[in-house]
């Protein structure tokens, strides 16, 4: 009984919180049981709310402002063993979450990298929550990416062949990926990637540094991403899109309200932006995102991707994003990128291609 009283009191505090939250961030937990219980409790509390309506900004738009976590243990694609099961029961969802968290918090002693937990890098330490869905993809109904177009299959085969035939010395452009090079962050457009629960910590079971912030002013929504300190500015005034020849890494976005849902359409991606995601989409990719606050601490995020050069049909995904504490920190990735030097040097040494200096 004390627990539910605490929960109610906690909810009251949360409901009374100003959008900017507390002055100092809450400490990452180090205890998986506590974190699992807390995540489960808050998810249940949100789901149990009835007759909740979204608050408004001072100028009358639905208030989506605040800090939201993009990391999730739910995989992008539904695992084969769950083929006909788009939803878990609540017990199954919690069990899957617990399994993912515990696996994530283990340190593989053979891992040539950190104990992620010590550095606060596990998604459960950042506030990831359970999800009733068994995959982020909700359409096609089987929860899997649609088939590749013949053109996309050719592109992928050509890229694989070219990678094998590449300039033998590994270099920044041919080896370092867009994140290692600090060109792009891990979450941009779309915002969610999907987890690989049960993966070793080294392959990022759910996502690291996955904090985002949504800012609103009259006529604009701004999404800030923690990795690479990226910004997406979304005008809401119905202005025309950029000309077709103007291409951006994060595309160019236009937003509008449909009831209490923010709808954002993004196009004008450059050709490289999605080459590492989703197996190689093109600059023709179009993204439609929907943001709806469904509780005091939950933002429902949905997206639909269309690229007729890559997939035979569009696909859609969604995830609930939990509210987290501020702030975002500067992510000056390129400014001190020792990592890319070490990674490329190490690869050159492994491949025997490093010349004596």
């Amino acid at each position: 009984m004390a627990a539910s009283a605490l929960m109610v009191a906690g909810m009251a505090v949360v409901l009374a919180q100003a959008p900017s939250g507390t002055a100092a961030p809450e400490r990452s937990p180090f205890n998986t049981d506590e974190a699992i219980k807390k995540a489960a409790d808050r998810t249940r509390a949100e789901a149990a709310l009835k007759n909740w309506t979204v608050s408004r900004t001072p100028w009358g738009d639905p208030d989506l402002r605040g800090y939201w976590l993009l990391a999730t243990y739910t995989p992008l694609e539904r695992p084969a063993e769950l083929a006909d099961k788009p939803f878990y029961t609540e017990e199954e969802a919690l069990a899957a979450f617990k399994k993912a968290v515990e696996s994530d918090s283990e340190v593989d002693p053979r891992t040539v990298h950190y104990d992620w937990k010590e550095f606060g890098m596990d998604a459960w330490q950042a506030g990831a929550t359970p999800n009733l869905r068994t995959s982020l993809i909700v359409d096609p109904p089987d929860g899997r990416l649609p088939p590749w177009t013949p053109e996309a299959q050719q592109r992928r085969a050509a890229a694989a062949a070219a990678a094998r035939a590449r300039n033998p010395a590994a270099g920044i452009r041919t080896f370092g990926n867009l994140y290692t090079r600090c060109v792009l962050g891990l979450y941009g457009a779309p915002l969610i990637r999907g987890g690989a629960p049960g993966a070793t910590a080294a392959s990022a079971a759910a996502g690291v540094s996955a904090e985002s912030q949504l800012v609103q002013t009259p006529g604009y929504v701004v999404i800030l991403l923690q990795t690479n300190s990226e910004v997406r500015i979304i005008p809401l005034d119905g202005r025309p899109p950029l000309p077709n020849n103007v291409r951006h890494w994060l595309g160019d976005s236009r937003g509008r309200w449909e009831g209490d849902t923010l709808v954002v359409e993004t196009a004008n991606f450059n050709e490289l932006s999605h080459s590492r995601n989703f197996g190689g989409a093109t600059g023709a990719l179009r993204l439609v995102e929907r943001f709806t606050r469904i509780g005091p601490n939950t933002l429902r995020y949905q997206y639909t991707i269309t690229d007729p050069n890559t997939w035979t049909r569009p696909f859609s995904a969604e995830a609930p994003l939990p509210r987290i504490d501020p702030p975002l920190y500067e992510f000056a990735c390129h400014e001190q990128n020792y990592g890319v030097i070490n990674v490329v040097t190490g690869t050159q040494i492994s491949e025997g291609s490093r010349k004596a200096r």
């Binding site: 002055a23 100028w59 402002r65 890229a159 070219a162 002013t217 009259p218 202005r239 030097i341």
Partner: protein, 290 residues
């Protein structure tokens, strides 16, 4: 009497039109004291702004000069003249600090990248697509956009998408050093006063080698003067470098083109060859891959 009433009515009509025009340009917000204001009564700084000075080349007064590699860059790369933005004209360097500034200028295009902590001894950070810091971000030749809420003001600079949060309520001390510093702001009447600390000591003020250390303390004052002009001043202190505090000031102009927006300026791909080829780590991508 008759004429005066007509004049008064004409004047009232002009005012009414002006009020309607302001209301139309900024939906849902009021006007008082000649400025558009936000719902909480503050001057409305929202919008896209840009300064028009040559301060990014040199914040002190300077004449036009050939730029780097004139044999390739010609007039494209030349430095234009400018009257500077330093009040009083010169920066009050301590003598040893002025020597360091001259060293900076000599080495401003030296690129020496290593996986070693001494890598910031050389070169203008802007050349390598590093964050410009404050106040330099405000006078780069790129626009920036201000997003103003009651509790927090966000500024996004087109250059590299650099951003800074100005925390109004709540505030906290800088938990860590950064390129853009940590900004706490408050309103003094109609002026936004921003206290910036927590610099990492790697930023320069311009391409001329003017610099500060991680002890830098900047206090900015942002004041709207009419709907399309922001008057900016900043007081700069750094006991490691200067003999006393000093000030810069310049106007910032609203970008008025219809549908103007920030473009992306992600300069990292533009500098990778310059930075990493000397280490044998850069090879142009194979033409047949993406």
């Amino acid at each position: 009497m008759h004429i005066r009433r007509k004049a008064l009515m004409a004047a009232a009509a002009v005012v009414a039109v002006a009020v309607l025009w302001f209301a139309a340009t900024v939906p849902g917000q009021g006007q008082a004291g000649g400025l558009t204001r936000t719902e909480d009564g503050r001057p409305n700084l929202n919008g896209i702004w840009q300064s028009v000075t040559t301060a990014n080349w040199d914040i002190e007064a300077h004449h036009a000069e050939a730029g780097p590699h004139p044999e390739i860059m010609g007039a494209w790369g030349a430095q234009p003249g400018g009257m500077g933005i330093v009040e009083g004209g010169t920066i009050p360097y301590k003598p040893e600090a002025l020597e360091r500034k001259k060293e900076n200028f000599k080495n401003r295009m030296v690129v020496k990248v290593t996986n070693d902590p001494s890598r910031f001894d050389y070169g203008d950070p802007e050349l390598q697509c590093y964050r410009p810091g404050v106040p330099r971000a405000n006078y780069m030749p790129f626009p920036f956009q201000i997003f103003q809420n009651r509790d927090q003001i966000l500024i996004v600079y087109e250059y590299k998408g650099s951003m800074r949060h100005i925390y109004i309520d709540p505030q906290m001390e800088a938990p860590v050093d950064s390129w853009m510093g940590w900004s706490n702001g408050k309103w003094e009447g109609d002026t936004l006063v921003v206290d910036v600390r927590g610099f990492n000591g790697h930023t320069w003020f311009d391409r001329a080698g003017n610099y500060a250390t991680d002890a830098a303390h900047i206090v900015e004052r942002w004041t709207l003067r009419g709907p399309d002009h922001l008057m900016y001043e900043a007081t700069i202190e750094d006991p490691n470098v200067y003999t006393r505090p000093w000030k810069i000031s310049f106007p910032i102009y609203r970008r008025l083109e219809p549908n103007v927006q920030l473009m992306e300026f992600n300069c990292v791909p533009f500098v990778e060859e310059m930075m990493y080829a000397p280490l044998g780590l850069y090879h142009p991508p194979d033409r047949s891959t993406r």
